[in-house]
């Protein structure tokens, strides 16, 4: 009835910009994925990108549970790991000629077996929600990790299962020998998986999963069996976890007990949380940051886990919505043309943080160097400086920088908070 009164073009005008925006976003992402290797083509950077792509799929699938369905899982690596094992066994069958299947579609194998393990284990875990779900997922994670050593035939014992991705004749020149081809395989799967997971979040099941997350009891009173909702959501999520596992099997050509282990289950939780569980794109950012820590920073320092842990704590304390929420909140400020009011405070806070961080990193690195390397060479090269860790001067200097940075950080942080509240107040007035 209403639409009869409105001019016919009103609706079209209302919906068009949204679609254009969406096409631009996805199209832009595709272009970036295709073009990235033209900019970053060194071996290490390419490996880093490949691993980021795998982690993006894994973290997005994890957020189908945590962010979208309210299920805090401590055992998500079970699904990616089992997917990886089945994929590498399939790869070896292809190599033996016992199976004819394109390597390009191997993630489907991982996905199907990931989803199957989701059917089996999810049947148990999704009976309950909340803390009970979390505890059972932890138990199942431990159980599968234990099995990996009990059943060496399938899991390959401590050495794991190795494979060779260059099987069969190259198809259109694709042999998966060069790293660049693996990158494009991962990028393509990442793009498609992300699109499908986004589409899934926009279906009746996806929305009801949000409802079950918010209020499982009420969901029962609008006709939904919350157990079935959680179960379906988990099975779908484990498909993508399995696909990411298969990609890691192709990328590394080895799958070990670590793939189903607790460390990986914890890692995906940390990555997803850092990125932000409240937004669909949050885990993408989280996966990129996490992989950067785990691959790039870990190759530069042994203390990377310490830095990651501290970063995680800082995020939980100061930005529980993750990097995504920081971006969205600041975009809102920028949209209202209030961002300029924050810039000086941001500058001060960031400068103080960098000073404190520099001092802190110097202390940590000197401790590591003193404990592990000093007998060979007492000089640590850091920030372009040559620091003799057996002499007192570098220690005094590092502590002084750290203390100075921290002392500056406190007023800068309070200044930023004040400015931030001010801006939020004005934003609120604008809305009302």
């Amino acid at each position: 009835m209403r639409s009869l009164n409105a001019p016919f073009f009103v609706q079209t005008l209302k919906f068009k910009p949204l679609n254009v925006e969406r096409w631009l976003l996805w199209g832009g992402a595709a272009v970036v994925l295709v073009a990235l290797p033209l900019v970053v083509h060194k071996g290490f950077a390419l490996t880093l990108l490949s691993q980021m792509g795998i982690m993006v799929i894994f973290a997005l699938s994890y957020n189908m549970l945590l962010g979208q369905g309210g299920m805090l899982s401590f055992g998500h690596a079970v699904y990616s790991g089992l997917g990886a094992y089945f994929a590498i066994h399939a790869l070896n069958l292809i190599a033996k000629g016992a199976l004819v299947f394109p390597v390009t579609l191997l993630p489907l194998v991982g996905g199907v077996f990931g989803a199957l393990s989701g059917v089996i284990f999810g049947w148990v875990t999704t009976k309950k929600s909340g803390t009970t779900f979390a505890m059972i997922s932890l138990g199942i994670g431990e159980m599968v990790a234990a099995c990996s050593l009990m059943l060496p035939g399938f899991f390959g014992g401590e050495g794991g299962v190795t494979g060779n991705r260059q099987v069969g004749r190259p198809f259109l020149g694709i042999s998966y020998g060069p790293e660049i081809q693996v990158y494009y395989l991962i990028a393509a799967w990442m793009f498609v998986s992300t699109a499908v997971m986004f589409a899934l979040s926009q279906t009746p099941l996806g929305r009801i999963a949000n409802a079950v997350r918010d209020n499982p009891e009420r969901a029962e009173f609008i006709g939904y069996d919350t157990q079935v909702v959680r179960f379906l959501q988990l099975v779908l999520a484990s498909f993508f976890a399995g696909a990411s596992g298969a990609l890691s099997a192709i990328n590394f050509e080895i799958v070990t007990a670590e793939n189903v282990g607790m460390l990986r289950s914890g890692g995906v939780l940390v990555a997803t949380f850092i990125g932000g569980v409240g937004f669909f794109f949050g885990p993408i950012l989280g996966a990129v940051i996490f992989t950067f820590f785990a691959v790039a920073i870990s190759s530069a320092t042994k203390a990377w886990l310490l830095y990651l842990g501290l970063f995680f704590i800082a995020m939980v304390m100061f930005a529980p919505g993750g990097v995504a929420s920081l971006i969205v909140l600041n975009l809102r400020v920028a949209k209202a043309a209030l961002f300029a009011r924050l810039v000086p405070a941001y500058g001060a806070a960031i400068a103080a943080s960098l000073i404190a961080l520099g001092g802190f990193v110097a202390i940590i690195e000197m401790i590591y160097h003193l404990e592990l390397e000093a007998m060979n060479d007492p000089v640590l090269k850091l920030f372009g400086l040559r620091l003799d860790v057996t002499a007192p001067a570098p220690w005094v200097g590092a502590v002084a920088v750290f203390v100075a940075g921290s002392a500056l950080w406190w007023p800068a942080w309070r200044w930023l908070r004040r400015r931030w509240d001010e801006v939020q107040l004005r934003l609120g007035e604008g809305i009302a």
């Binding site: 589409a199 899934l200 926009q202 279906t203 009746p204 099941l205 996806g206 929305r207 009801i208 949000n210 409802a211 997350r213 918010d214 209020n215 009891e217 009420r218 969901a219 029962e220 009173f221 609008i222 006709g223 939904y224 069996d225 919350t226 079935v228 909702v229 379906l232 779908l236």
Partner: protein, 249 residues
């Protein structure tokens, strides 16, 4: 014709404490039925038994003649019975619109589908818009439900309850915590959205009860001591003694 809701000798105990002691109750189709009683009489427990939130300890509950005492809440809901809650029970992080649309999805046949886009479900969108118009929250369409005012949340609570198009509506103290004008608006809303439906309402506000109800049942210590037309209930000596207070008469 079977009554819309029928309770036969329904009992409920929590441990050794008997809360409902053999309640018999029949609500005819299309009737507006109020359940009143002092605090702790077991009104909310009775609602929880009818809607499957709690299991009965004994007796039977029938929806249009069909036994439902052993069914789960979602199964009962799918048979066309929907309820609201005394303490607001909504989906806080979802928008007002999504709250109502979610509540309409099952009855429109979308169930657990993950192979179609929600946006393509024109009937669900239409139904949600219709309900928002009815409960007066169309303006708040995109606001997260958690930041609505109390009165708005109460209206949304009713919206979620009716969105699925259930024939039997149970409202648990829909006007609790409201001022006079809010209460009047809510009564008008309830009247509007339950036209042609069966309504069972738990209510403390007597003016609401006598304004809205065709029949009233009085629950005291887990027993129905009277079930009659409002005027007859007002005149009932037993009710006056037990509930309304003899002094008032």
């Amino acid at each position: 014709m079977n009554p819309a809701i029928e309770l036969r000798r329904v009992r409920k105990s929590f441990g050794k404490t008997a809360v409902i002691n053999g309640v018999d109750l029949a609500v005819a189709r299309g009737e507006r039925h109020a359940i009143i009683g002092p605090n702790g009489a077991g009104k909310s427990t009775l609602f929880n038994l009818i809607t499957g939130r709690h299991r009965v300890s004994g007796g039977g509950i029938y929806l249009n003649g069909e036994p439902i005492a052993d069914l789960k809440p979602f199964q009962i809901n799918r048979k066309g019975l929907s309820r609201s809650f005394q303490v607001t029970n909504i989906f806080n992080n979802l928008s007002v619109f999504e709250n109502v649309r979610c509540a309409a999805l099952w009855s429109l046949g979308y169930k657990y589908s993950f192979w179609q886009r929600l946006e393509a479900a024109a009937d669900a969108r239409r139904r949600a818009a219709e309900v928002l118009e009815e409960i007066g929250l169309a303006r708040r369409r995109d606001t997260p439900a958690g930041v609505l005012s109390y009165a708005e949340q109460r209206a949304l609570e009713i919206g979620i309850t009716i969105a699925g198009g259930a024939d039997v509506i149970l409202l648990d103290e829909p006007t609790s915590g409201m001022n006079r004008s809010e209460t009047a608006a809510t009564v008008a809303l309830i009247r509007k959205v339950t036209v042609g439906k069966t309504l069972v309402i738990v209510e403390h506000d007597m003016s609401v009860v006598f304004d809205l109800a065709d029949r009233v049942s009085v629950l005291v210590y887990g027993e129905v001591i009277a079930s009659d037309a409002p005027a007859a209930i007002r005149a009932n000596a037993k009710v006056q003694a037990a509930y309304l207070g003899t002094a008032k008469a």
